[in-house]
C-alpha cells in the first residue's frame, strides 16, 4: 500500500465518505478487507477527532473509560490505509451533476462513488427554553464534555427521556455526584425495550441509586433567563436543574441527500445493496431507510456495512435483508436485555419467570413454537442464546418446559462453557459492540496464530469496547487452541471478588463509592464483609481516593496498624519512636531509657533505619509507654505501617569533611513533610550529603544524593529479598525542588500502585518513563500531584500514640474484659 505509484493512484476509483462515524468507517474497513487496492478513499467528518465508538459514550461519562479507550481507528490507521481524513470539516453540499462534494471550508472533492454515512441527529423537543445554556443532548464527545463540566459543579440535573440513552446519561451524571431526575413521557422507562414488569424493576433500581424517576411526565417548558434553572411539567410541577439532558430519541440525518435531490423519506431510501436513488451514491447506518425501517442501534450498521462492501468489491451477495435487533443497557451492575417483539397478544404465548429474591425477571414470547421476543432483567446471561434461537427461527417446542431456566438447563451443553461456544454457529454474534461473529474470531485465531485475549482484541476488536464478552472470547480461544491456551486473566484481589486491584481503584472513583459497604455492594463482592486480604486493600484505596472525607476503618487494618506497634512472635509488641532524620538528643535518650526501666522492656535495639526499638512491650502497657514518650516530645515512628517509615541520613555538610549539602537538615525536612502518610506499602527514604552516598540512598523508595550543584533524586530501590538499586528520576538544584518532586512522586505512587506493591515492583510494572513523564516532564501535573499530597497531609499528621495515650482512642484495644460470676 505504501508503494503505490501515482499512475496506479489515479487508476483507482475515487470514493468519498461523508461521515467519520461507526457506520462509515466500518464500511471502509470491510471494503479494505475485501478490495484493499480498489479505492482511493477520502473521509469527511463533522467532529474534530478520529473515529470513536459512540455506544461507549456512557462509560466515558461515568468515568469507566477514557477517550483513548473508545477510539476505533487511530490517526495512524488512516495514514496506513492512505485515507485522506478531513475531520472537523463537514460536507455542506453535494453537486451530483459535477460529482463533487463541497465542505464547509470550501474544499471541493471529486468522487466516482459517494457513501453517505451521516448518521442521525438527536431530537430536540421545541419547548420554550430549549435553547438556554445548560441544555444539551447526549450524542457526542462534546456533549459529554459539557455534562462533565456541569457535573464538576454538582447540583441538580434533569434528563428528559427515560429510554436507553437517557438512563445511561442519568446513571453517569449520578455517579459524577449530581442529583438526577429522569422525566419520562410513557408509563414506564425503556418502554420500547422493556415490558412494564421489567420497567418497574429497573425504575426501582434507579431509585435505589438515588435517581428520581417521574413517569408520565410531560415537559411544558425549560425555565431560566440565560442559563437553565429548572424544568416545569404540564401538571405544574417544577423540578430545579443546572443541567438538562435531552435524550428523547434520534432522527435520521438525510439533509445533504435531500438537498441534492436524492430520495429521502424518514431516512435516505436504499435498496438491499445500500444504493440510493442515485446509482453512484450509497448510504449506510442510522441515516438510511431500508424496507421502511430506520435503525438506531449498532448491530444493523455492521450488517449493512458487510452487504455494501460485498457489493462494492463485486462479491456475490444476498444483500441486506433487515435486522432483528437486541438491546443491552450499559449500566454497570444493572443487567437488562431485550430482543425482538415482546408485545405479546394475538397468537403468542408467553413464559414468565420471576425470582424476587435475586431480582430476576424473564419473559419469553413464543409464536408457532418459535421465539418472537424476550425481555430479561437481573440475569441476562442467556440473552445471546435466546437471541440466536430467535434469529435462526429455531423451533423450541422441545425446550419449552425449561426454556426460562436458560441454556444450561435446556441445551444441556452450556454446563461446559467450552462445549457451549463450540456448539455456536459461525454467524453467532460474540461481540455486540463491534459486531464480531464467532467465525471471524476463530478465523483470526487460526490464520494469525493468536494466543491471547489482547491479540484477539487487536485483530478483531472483539471485546475491545465494553468487555462484557471477554469471557466468551476467552472460551473461543480455549476451544480453538485446545490445550495450548493459557488464560492470561487478571488476578482478582482475593476470592471475595472477580475484580483486580486496578479496576477496583478505578471504579471507586468512577462510581463515587465512599465506604466499604458501598464498594462491596456495587462491585458485587461474594462475601458479606470481605476477608483479611481485600479489606485492608479497600480501606487504603478509599483513604487514597477520598482524603479527609473517608473515615479510616480500624477493623480492616492489620493489627500492627490498628494498635500502632509491631506484633512479635509471642504476642508482645515493639515500639519505635520517630527520630527525625536519624537525629536524637540526650532528653529523648533519657526518656527512652526511663521507659525501658519502668516497663521492664527486655530488649533495646538500634534499627537499620536509624532509630531505637523497644521490644517485648505488653499490649496493655502500650498507652502508658506512649504517654511517657510523648511527654519527652516523641511521636510514633510508624515502623509498623504501610506508610512513611524512616528517612536515613549521613552527617552531611553539617559535619563531614567531604559533604557538599546539608543532608541531615534535608532529611529532617523531608521527614517532617511526609510523616503520617499512608502508602500502598512501607516507604523508606534516605539523604546522602555527597556522591559517596553513606546513607545508602540508592536502595530506598526515594533517595536523595547531594552533588556539587544540587541533588540527584533516585526512586524505586529496595533491599529485602530482591535487592533493587534505584533509577535516577532527575537532577534538581534547590531544596524546595527536592521536596516538591518527593511529594509528587509519593502521590503518584499512592494513587497508582496496588496495595502491598512496593515502589520497586511498581516501577518495574509501569516503567520509569511513565513516572518521569508525570513527575518530571509535566510541570503542571507535578505541581498538582504535590498539592494533592500536601492537602492529604493536613489531616494525616496526627500522632496516633498521643490519641491513644491521652485521648482514649480505641481504649477497648488495650483493656481486657473483666468478669463477674453469673447468678
Amino acid at each position: 500500500m505504501n508503494h503505490v505509484t501515482a499512475a496506479l493512484r489515479t487508476a483507482k476509483v475515487r470514493l468519498v465518505v461523508i461521515g467519520n462515524g461507526m457506520a462509515g468507517m466500518r464500511t471502509v474497513e470491510e471494503i479494505l478487507n475485501r478490495a484493499p487496492d480498489k479505492y482511493d478513499i477520502t473521509v469527511f467528518g463533522a467532529e474534530p477527532r478520529v473515529n470513536y465508538n459512540r455506544i461507549m459514550l456512557s462509560p466515558l461519562l461515568s468515568g469507566e473509560k477514557d477517550f483513548d479507550e473508545i477510539v476505533i481507528n487511530t490517526p495512524e490507521w488512516y495514514t496506513e490505509n492512505n485515507i485522506h481524513l478531513y475531520s472537523g470539516d463537514p460536507v455542506v453540499k453535494i453537486d451530483r451533476d459535477r460529482k463533487v462534494v463541497i465542505s464547509k471550508s470550501g474544499t471541493e472533492t471529486e468522487y466516482d462513488q459517494l457513501l453517505l454515512a451521516t448518521g442521525s441527529d438527536p431530537i430536540i423537543i421545541p419547548v420554550p427554553g430549549h435553547k438556554l445554556d445548560g441544555v444539551v443532548t447526549f450524542r457526542d464527545v462534546d456533549d459529554v464534555d459539557t455534562m462533565l463540566g456541569a457535573a464538576a459543579k454538582g447540583g441538580p440535573a434533569v434528563v428528559i427521556g427515560g429510554g436507553l440513552l437517557g438512563l445511561e446519561a442519568a446513571v453517569g451524571l449520578q455517579s459524577r455526584g449530581m442529583d438526577v431526575t429522569v422525566l419520562h413521557l410513557a408509563g414506564h422507562v425503556m418502554e420500547r425495550q422493556l415490558d412494564p414488569s421489567a420497567g418497574y424493576l429497573l425504575a426501582q433500581e434507579l431509585e435505589r441509586r438515588g435517581i428520581t424517576v417521574i413517569t408520565e411526565a410531560d415537559t411544558a417548558e425549560i425555565v431560566g433567563s440565560e442559563h437553565v434553572t429548572g424544568v416545569r411539567l404540564k401538571d405544574g410541577r417544577m423540578i430545579p436543574a443546572d443541567l438538562v439532558v435531552m435524550a428523547v430519541g434520534i432522527r435520521p440525518n438525510g439533509r445533504l441527500a435531500a438537498d441534492a435531490g436524492v430520495a429521502v423519506e424518514r431516512g435516505i431510501v436504499v435498496d438491499d445493496v445500500m444504493t440510493t436513488s442515485d446509482p453512484a451514491i450509497f448510504a449506510v447506518g442510522e441515516c438510511v431507510q431500508h424496507r421502511g425501517q430506520c435503525y438506531g442501534l449498532v448491530a444493523p450498521l455492521f450488517e449493512m456495512a458487510k452487504s455494501l462492501a460485498d457489493h462494492m468489491a463485486e462479491i456475490e451477495t444476498d444483500g441486506y435483508t433487515g435486522s432483528v435487533t437486541s438491546t443491552k443497557l450499559k449500566v454497570t451492575g444493572v443487567d437488562v436485555f431485550s430482543a425482538g417483539d415482546f408485545s405479546g397478544g394475538g397468537e403468542t404465548e408467553e413464559i414468565v419467570f420471576r425470582d424476587a429474591g435475586r431480582g430476576v425477571y424473564k419473559r419469553i414470547v413464543l409464536e408457532d413454537g418459535k421465539i418472537k421476543g424476550a425481555v430479561l432483567y437481573g440475569d441476562t446471561s442467556d440473552g445471546g442464546w435466546y437471541f440466536q434461537l430467535m434469529k435462526d427461527g429455531e423451533d423450541v417446542t422441545e425446550l419449552r418446559d425449561t426454556l426460562a431456566f436458560g441454556q444450561a438447563f435446556a441445551g444441556g451443553s452450556a454446563g461446559n462453557p467450552l462445549d457451549a461456544v463450540a456448539a455456536l454457529p459461525d454467524d453467532a454474534e460474540i461481540c455486540g459492540c463491534n459486531g464480531v461473529c464467532k467465525g471471524s474470531i476463530v478465523a483470526a485465531i487460526s490464520e494469525k496464530s493468536l494466543t491471547t485475549l489482547d491479540e484477539v482484541k487487536g485483530h478483531t476488536k472483539a471485546s475491545a469496547s465494553c468487555g462484557s464478552c471477554s469471557g466468551l472470547v476467552e472460551n473461543l480461544l480455549a476451544a480453538t487452541l485446545g490445550g495450548d491456551y493459557q488464560a492470561a486473566t487478571v488476578k482478582p484481589i482475593c476470592t471475595c471478588t472477580d475484580h483486580d486491584h486496578d479496576s477496583v481503584r478505578r471504579l471507586i472513583i468512577a462510581k463515587n463509592l465512599k465506604s466499604m459497604p458501598a464498594v462491596m455492594q456495587e462491585l458485587e463482592w461474594k462475601s458479606s464483609d470481605g476477608c483479611h486480604v481485600c479489606r485492608p486493600a479497600l480501606n487504603y484505596y478509599l483513604l487514597a481516593a477520598w482524603p479527609g472525607e473517608y473515615v479510616d476503618h480500624g477493623a480492616s487494618r492489620f493489627i500492627n496498624e490498628r494498635v500502632h506497634a509491631n506484633i512479635q512472635k509471642d504476642g508482645t509488641y515493639s515500639v519505635i519512636p520517630r527520630m527525625w532524620g536519624g537525629l536524637t538528643n540526650p532528653r529523648e535518650l533519657r526518656a527512652i531509657a526511663d521507659v525501658a526501666d519502668k516497663f521492664e522492656i527486655p530488649t533495646v535495639k538500634v534499627t537499620g533505619g536509624q532509630r531505637i526499638d523497644l521490644l517485648g512491650v505488653k499490649k496493655e502497657d502500650l498507652p502508658a509507654v506512649w504517654a511517657d514518650l510523648n511527654a519527652a516530645g516523641m511521636v510514633s515512628g510508624h515502623a509498623y505501617g504501610k506508610s512513611l517509615r524512616t528517612v536515613k541520613s549521613c552527617v552531611g555538610q553539617e559535619w563531614c569533611r567531604f559533604g557538599t549539602q546539608m543532608s541531615m537538615g534535608m532529611a529532617v525536612e523531608l521527614e517532617k513533610m511526609t510523616w503520617g502518610s499512608w502508602m500502598p506499602h512501607k516507604f523508606k527514604m534516605a539523604v546522602s550529603g555527597c556522591p559517596r552516598n553513606c546513607a545508602e540512598a540508592t536502595i530506598k523508595d526515594f533517595g536523595v544524593v547531594a552533588t556539587d550543584g544540587g541533588w540527584d533524586l533516585h526512586v524505586g530501590g529496595n533491599g529485602g529479598i530482591h535487592v533493587r538499586a534505584t533509577d535516577l528520576l532527575c537532577k534538581v538544584t534547590t531544596d524546595d525542588e527536592v521536596k516538591e518532586y518527593c511529594g509528587a512522586f509519593i502521590q503518584l505512587y499512592r494513587e497508582e500502585a496496588r496495595y502491598l506493591e512496593r515502589t520497586a515492583p511498581w516501577i518495574e510494572r509501569v516503567g520509569m518513563k511513565h513516572v518521569q513523564e508525570r513527575v518530571v516532564d509535566d510541570e503542571a501535573n507535578r505541581k498538582a500531584l504535590f498539592e494533592r499530597f500536601m492537602i492529604s497531609q493536613k489531616t494525616a499528621q496526627i500522632d496516633p500514640w498521643a490519641e491513644r495515650a491521652s485521648e482514649g482512642v480505641d481504649a477497648h484495644e488495650f483493656t481486657p474484659l473483666s468478669m463477674v460470676a453469673a447468678e
Partner: protein
Amino acid sequence: MSNNLTWVVVGPAANIPQQGARTLQTETDRIAIFRTLDDQIFALLDRCPHKQGPLAQGIVHGHFVTCPLHNMVFSLETGEAQGPDDGCAAKVECQVIDGIVRVGLTELQAGLRHAG
C-alpha cells in the same frame, strides 16, 4: 465438657467492637470473644494452634478470623482451620442473653480446681 461449666458475665455485647474482639483472662487461659458484622458473639481460646498467635488481634470477616502471625484462617463457629491448613482453635461456650455476654468456663479456667 459443657455439663459442669461455670458461666460468667463479661458485660454487654456492645463493649466488643464490631468485626473485632476483646480478651478475657481466666485462671489458666486467655479467651478471645469476637463480635461479627452481623452482631453474633463467638469465643475461642486466644491461642492459634499453629504458633500460639493471639487470635483476638486478627481481622474478623464473616464468621472467620485470620491469625495475625501467619494469616491462618479459623472458623469462629467451629474453630477449624480453613483451606489447606490443618488445626483447630479451641472453642469456648458463650451465649448472649438480653445483650449481655456470658462465657462458660471449665473448672480449671474458673479456678475451681488447680491445674495438675
